[in-house]
Amino acid sequence: MSSDMTGAGATRSASHFVASVEDAPIDSVDAVKLDEKPSNLWIDAWRDLRTRPMFWISLGLILLILTVALLPTLFTQTDPRACDLANSLAGPGPGAPLGYTKQGCDIYSRIIDGTSTSLSVGLIVILLTTVTGVLFGALAGFFGGFVDTVFMRLGDIFFSIPYILAAVVIMSVFSENRNIVVIALAIGVFAWPTTARVLRSEVLRVKNADYIMAAEATGLSKMGILLKHVLPNSIAPVIVVTTLSLGAAITAEATLSFLGVGLPPQDYMSWGNEISAAQRDLRTDPQTLIYPSIALTLTVLSFILLGEALRDALDPKARALR
C-alpha cells in the first residue's frame, strides 16, 4: 500500500488498470533473463545497505573502535597506570587532553585502554549466545514436538530470570577469580533465549516453503535440509539480533563493573570501572564520569546503528514502514 493516499486531499487517478502492451510487452514479463546475475537475499541486502549513510557511518565507527582496541598504542603513548596524585582531578593538560581522575591518572589513555576489555567481553558474549541460541532455536523450530517443548521451556526458565540480577549472582559465586571469560559467561548464560526464539519462529516460517519440499523430494536427509536450506534462509534475523545484542552485552559488562561485581579494577581497565570510580566525584568533577560514558555510549550506538541498518536491509517489511 502506498503512502501517498493518506492525506485528506489525496486524489487517485488511473487511466489503465493493466499496463498497456507498449509499456510492458508480454515477453518482458515472462522472460527468464539468463544473462542477468542471479540475485538473492544477501545481494539485495547489500545493494540496499550500500546506499544507506547510517550503514557507512556505523561501519566507520566500528572500524575505528576495533583499531583502538587492537592497537591502543597508535592513539596514546601515556601509560594508563602511571598515576600521580599531584594531578588528582586536574583539568586537561599536555599529554592528558581530557584531564585526570581522582587518582591522578590520564582519563584519555584509560578510555583508550578500556576499549579492548569492553569489546572482548561483548564478542565472547555474542559468540556464546549465538552458538547456543542457533543450536536450540534451529532444532526446536525444525523438529518441533517434544524437542520444541523441552528447548523452549528451558529457554523460558533462563529468560524469566532478570539477567543482570542473575549475572550479579554468578559474579558473586566467582568472587575469587573474575576474568573476561567468567563475566562473558555470566552475561551470556541468561541472554541466549532471545536468539533462540527469533531463529525458531523464522525456521517455522521457512520450513513450510516449497523449496524445502523439493529438497525432501530429492532425497536429502533431514540434517542436510536443515543445514543446506533451512538455516541459510532463516539466519538473517539472527544477524540483526546479534549485532544489537553486542551493544547490549557491552552495556551489561559496564553495568556489572559499575555495580562492583565486574572485572577487578586493579587488573582490568574497563569503562564500567572508570564510571564506577568516578561516581563519587559527580557533583564536583563531572568530567571524570562523562568521558568514559561518552566512549561507552558511542560504542553501543555504533552497533545499534549497524543492527538497525541491517534490519532495514534484510527485512523488506520493516522497510515499508520507514
Binding site: S160, T255, L296, L321
Partner: protein
Amino acid sequence: MLYYIGRRLLQAIPVLLGTTFIIYFMVFAMPGDPLLGLFGDKAPNPALLARLQEQYALDQPFFVQYLNYLGNLVQGNFGISFSGQPVNDILARTFPVTLKLAVIAIFIEMVLALTIGLISGLRKGGIFDATALVVSLLLISVPIFVLCFVGQFFFAVQLGWFSPTVGSDTSFGKLLLPAIVLSLFVVATAIRLTRASVIETANADFVRTAYSKGLSRRRVVPVHILRNSLIPVTTQLGADFGLLIVGATVTEGIFNVPGVGNTLYQAVIRGERPTVVSFVTVMVLLYLVVNILIDLLYAVLDPRIRYVK
C-alpha cells in the same frame, strides 16, 4: 478463555520450578559462610554458630534444603532472612515502593510515546520524525546508570528541581526523578512502535473511508488512527511494566530508593541467601503473570484474536 488461562498457568509451573532451582543452586554455590558475617570481626561462638546453622538448615545437604524451601514456598512462607526478619515482611515493605515507581514511570512513558510516536507517524520523514529517531537511538544506547547520573547531575544538582536521592520518604515528588529516568530508559522502543503502528493504521482502508465520508482530520486522527494503533503499544507498555518491577536495580541503587531491586542487590552482596532466592522467585512469578495478562489484554483489545484452544 478460562481453559486458556488454566493452560498458561500450568505451563508456568515447570518454569517456576526451574528458575527457583537455578537460583537456589547458584546462591548455594556462593563462596563464604554467610553466617560468619553476622558476627562482624569477632570470632564466632561455636555453639551459637551450630545453633544458627541448624535454625537455617544450613547443615543439611543441598537437595534437602531446596525441597524444604519449596515446601515452605507452597505455603506462602518465604523464610527468614539471616538478619532475623521474615522475608515476607521485607517484601511487603519494599514491593509497594517499586510498584509506585513503576506506575509513575509507565504513565510518563505512555504520554511521551503516544504524543511523539503519533506526530512522527503522521509526519513521516519530516524534521520532527528525524529528530525523534535520533533521540530514540541515543536513548537506546545510553546505559541506564549513565542516564541516572546525567539526570541526577542536571536536574537535582545543577538545577535543584528535585532532591538527588529518595531515602525513606517515598512520596510522589521524591520518586518523580527516578521515574522520569526509568521512563526515558524504556520510552524509545515504545515511541518507535507507536510510530510504526500509526503509519500502518493511517494507510488502512477504514481511514481512507473516514476521510472520504468527509470527516475532519481532527476527528479521524484520535478516533480512527490513534485508537486503532494502540494495540501493540499497550502490550509493549505492559511488557515494560513487567521489566520495571523486576529490573530497576541500578536506578533504585543510584537514587537510594528502598525498593525491591535495591534490596535484592544488597542481599546478593551480603550473601543473604533466603532473601535472594525468595525475591527472585517472586520476580519470576510476577514476570510470568504479567506476560499472561498481556496476552489476555491482546484478546480484549483486538476482537480478531481469540484463544480457541
